[in-house]
């Protein structure tokens, strides 16, 4: 059965290659520390489940420290000029789209059809891994298609171009995983239980409007701090959603919990803690203001939050 582990080896291998490239880059402003950052990150992604967690944890902390105290930076990578790109685009025209569109096309095919493949009655792909495997297969397919259409003199140029984009992301590449760890530590340290106790004390017992507001606002606020509505949901539901809204006031649980989660999603749109969605894209797009995307999303988040509160007041109580 094919699982997702080999795709992490590919990803870790790519990060490691970027680190090695930087180590050979004599003009890189922070040559050795930046090389160490990407090599360690790549090795950690590969090692994943192979080494004891405490060892992996120590390496992750070291890697985060190197970047956290500002020892990493971006180098200058030789690429084509704007004029060269215009000329190449005029020559290749829509052929350029074929490798780019190979990625979503193959991802979809594997994600939807991969589950049906079997060899000798056993499923070929491990259950739950179809989408990840799809993305991995699609990337390899797109690279092969790209090489055969573009015919670069040196195929390895793909990795220096990949390095150009990865260095634009920089330390933000590690942030989503550290945030996941923070959520884990908060839970184990009992932060959620504490917040739940406080909320339980302040929530009014007889006002449906106020109880719904506290549930929705708590979901959004806790999501803003944690960067993830998944952490907020059990806490706010145990404090307000279940005991007060469902048990006392008789709300229908399915719509109440579903829309409550979406009220939390409105918080996700407003927070740098949701790094993968709100900080990595501006980094990859090389924007000057790393918070510009969040600023763009806030008005939508506020309006949508109001809609969610409105729905929660009506739908579960019909």
């Amino acid at each position: 059965m094919i699982g997702a582990e080999w795709i992490y080896w590919l990803l870790g291998g790519f990060f490691f290659i970027v680190g090695v490239q930087i180590a050979f880059d004599r003009v890189h402003p922070r040559r050795w520390t930046t090389a160490a950052f990407w090599c360690l990150l790549g090795a950690s992604i590969c090692a994943g489940n192979l080494v004891p967690s405490w060892l992996l944890g120590a390496v992750v902390i070291l890697t985060a420290l190197i970047a956290g105290v500002g020892l990493t930076g971006g180098g200058t990578i030789r690429t084509t000029s704007n004029a060269e790109r215009e000329a190449s685009a005029a020559r290749l025209r829509n052929l350029l789209f074929i490798p780019a569109l190979t990625i979503p096309a193959v991802t979809v095919v594997v994600a939807l059809g991969g589950g049906r493949l079997s060899i000798g009655g056993r499923a070929l792909l491990a259950p739950g891994s179809q989408t990840l495997v799809g993305l991995g297969v699609a990337t390899i397919a797109a690279l092969v298609v790209g090489w055969s259409i573009l015919r670069p003199k040196n195929p390895a140029v793909a990795f220096s171009e990949g390095r150009r984009l990865l260095e634009a992301i920089g330390w933000a590449a590690l942030l989503p995983q550290l945030l996941a760890t923070l959520g884990l530590l908060f839970t184990q340290a009992g932060v959620g239980t504490q917040v739940g106790t406080i909320v339980h004390h302040i929530v009014p017992e007889h006002s449906r409007v106020l109880a719904v507001l506290v549930y929705a606002l708590g979901m959004a606020a806790f999501t803003i701090v944690m960067g993830n509505a998944f952490a907020a949901f059990p806490i706010m539901t145990a404090a307000v959603g279940w005991p007060i809204l469902v048990q006392q006031m008789g709300a229908n649980p399915a719509p109440m919990f579903a829309i409550g989660m979406l009220a939390g999603f409105c918080g996700t749109l407003c927070t740098p803690m949701a790094a993968n969605f709100n900080l990595v894209p501006p980094a990859l797009l090389e924007m000057r203001d790393r918070y510009a995307q969040i600023k763009t999303q806030i008005p939508t988040a506020i309006l949508l939050f109001a809609v969610n509160v409105g729905l929660m007041l009506i739908v579960p109580f019909r």
Partner: protein
């Protein structure tokens, strides 16, 4: 109560604009120590947290092929293609992408879009191409606005589409948590169906704002003249 200090550290750290990696790491370690976790336990949490969340950066795998295509002018071609479509504006293009992202995510196809795969190579250059066609040159401030809006359309689209799909993390989490904790028998489909009204509202609200983007861009360019 004292474990809440970690939450305060996160808020203060981001407000004071310290490096987020440091803020998150320090806040996690402080909360864990206050919560009585041993140093070994903390190291293990960093290791297992990292290993379990490796999938969040998996989309970076496409960077070599996207970089290669950029080298040969993919962004330039995407701009040129849009500059021929007379009725396509940046706002309308992004509304179409928002809808595409919501609908595909609603069928569980969340990795079809995203900034590495779609926004940087195709969507942002196309939106900029539409602005170039109408206004000629594009000042840097406008480029920033277009990038922010392209990334926002992607994030909003996936958030408020994926929850309509029964086998997505958040829906399964709701079902697993409430069924285990409160002995309910909620079916994931019952939960996913209630994400549909919010998904429609998200499309209407954000789609409306995107349609106003064209006028905003025109104003920004006029102001500079």
């Amino acid at each position: 109560m004292i474990v809440l200090l970690g939450v305060a550290l996160v808020v203060a750290g981001f407000a004071l604009r310290f490096n987020p990696l440091l803020v998150v790491m320090v806040a996690g370690i402080v909360s864990a120590l206050l919560g009585g976790l041993s140093p070994l336990h903390i190291l293990e949490a960093f290791g297992s947290g990292f290993a379990a969340s490796r999938s969040v950066t998996l989309a970076f795998l496409v960077l070599p092929v996207i970089g290669l295509l950029e080298r040969y002018g993919l962004q330039q071609r995407a701009r040129a293609l849009v500059s021929k479509a007379a009725s396509l504006t940046a706002g309308r293009l992004l509304v179409a992408y928002l809808l595409f992202r919501q609908v595909t995510a609603a069928f569980g196809l969340t990795s079809i879009g995203g900034t590495p795969q779609m926004v940087r190579p195709l969507i942002y250059p196309m939106a900029e191409g539409a602005v170039i066609r109408t206004h000629g040159a594009v000042p840097e401030a406008v480029t920033e606005t277009i990038k922010a809006n392209a990334a926002a359309a992607d994030t909003i689209g996936v958030f408020f589409g994926e929850d309509c799909f029964v086998a997505i993390g958040s829906v399964l989490l709701i079902a697993a948590y409430v069924n285990a904790s409160y002995h309910l028998k909620l079916d994931p489909l019952q939960i996913a169906i209630w994400a549909v009204p919010t998904a429609i509202a998200a499309f209407l609200i954000h789609g409306f704002r995107l349609l106003r983007l064209d006028a905003k861009v025109a104003r920004m360019i006029d102001d500079r003249r």
